[in-house]
Amino acid sequence: MEPDLTDISRRLKKYGALPVASPVVRDVLRSIDRESASFEQTATQIERDPDLSLQILRSANSLTSSFTGRVHTVLQAVKLLGFSTTKALVLSAVLLDRSKVHAGIPELWSHSQIVSLNARILARHLGFPWEEEARTAGLLHDIGKVFFYEEFPEFYQQAFQLGDSPQAVPDWKREREVFGVDHSFVGNRLIQEFGMPRILSDPVLFLHDPPAELLFPQLTQVLIVADQMAVAMGFGSPEFEFVEPVFVDALHRLGLGAGDLKILLAEAHSRSAMVEILSL
């Protein structure tokens, strides 16, 4: 039976209630959500779980070390990443760990890390004040795909085989045709259910066909450019490995010309090497 919107909604409701079995993860998320959250307390909570600590350290080194030098302690990592990126990493770690057996997950994680890196480079280049939000939104922008990969693996097995062929159709289009909604819609819902702010969930919703009026127009366009740059650099998703026309439009909207793109690409290439090395 083909899944319909009611079925997707029912599955999503179950899925959104994260099975946070680890008390450490639960405590970390609670600690970050408190108004009085402190870096020290959050780091101490994370350090109770060696696997989570290693994951946070590895991600912090991938995402920040090319800007700041090596990160050696969890406290350093949390301070450098900020609360929202740390929370995004913890949530991603839980979701990705749960679904690591599914095809496409390692590629998705590499893609998300490169998009996060690109988004930060872009935000910094353009002088926008929300570098951390850009980085976090980059990490989370395809989180809806984890849901789809896990719930409908056969659908993606087919898509993976065609991903780089001339017949390939953008993932979001195929998802809308088959499921009625796409991974951006699901990602937006999940990010909201994780209690993260609209500055992170809204841009994710409009990544593939942004309407004329947007609540966070610049961050959305930054994310679009970051996403498509990652695809062009060879860090796309396995189900569709082509740059989409929305890329050129987003470059125009951000006022990015050839000179800007040259600078951004040079930086993105050198920094992405660090992510590749650490993701081996």
Partner: protein, 113 residues
């Protein structure tokens, strides 16, 4: 023969081969080389305060191999833009991506043997 490189243990991927015996501060042998790094061993070493390990670097490629990889990647870049309508702007963007790739590869090539 592959050379040896020193890398941060926390960032070391599983499967790399530890190329030198690892001892703790008191000189006690923790790991006899050669030995492949796995998650458990990594955790134990980190808990023992080991921060860096010497591993075999099998990633070093010859200049010819790098040139071939670069040509292949340049073709892939063009292919990734193939779903965009043809226009001078598209060509310019592709050129920028290819140029960035060449420059980056050029820097890496200088380090190749």
């Amino acid at each position: 023969m592959s050379r040896m490189i020193k890398i941060d243990l926390e960032a070391a991927p599983e499967g790399v081969v530890i190329a030198q015996d690892i001892k703790d501060n008191l000189g006690r042998l923790l790991v006899k080389s050669p030995r492949a790094l796995d998650a458990d061993l990594k955790r134990v070493l980190l808990l023992r305060g080991i921060r860096e390990v010497l591993v075999q670097d099998n990633s070093r490629k010859s200049r010819e191999e790098l040139d071939m990889m670069l040509e292949k990647e340049k073709e892939s870049v063009r292919k990734r833009f193939s779903k965009l309508s043809d226009s001078p702007e598209k060509e310019q963007i592709i050129r920028l991506f290819v140029q960035a790739l060449e420059e980056y590869a050029g820097e890496q090539n200088l380090k190749a043997p």
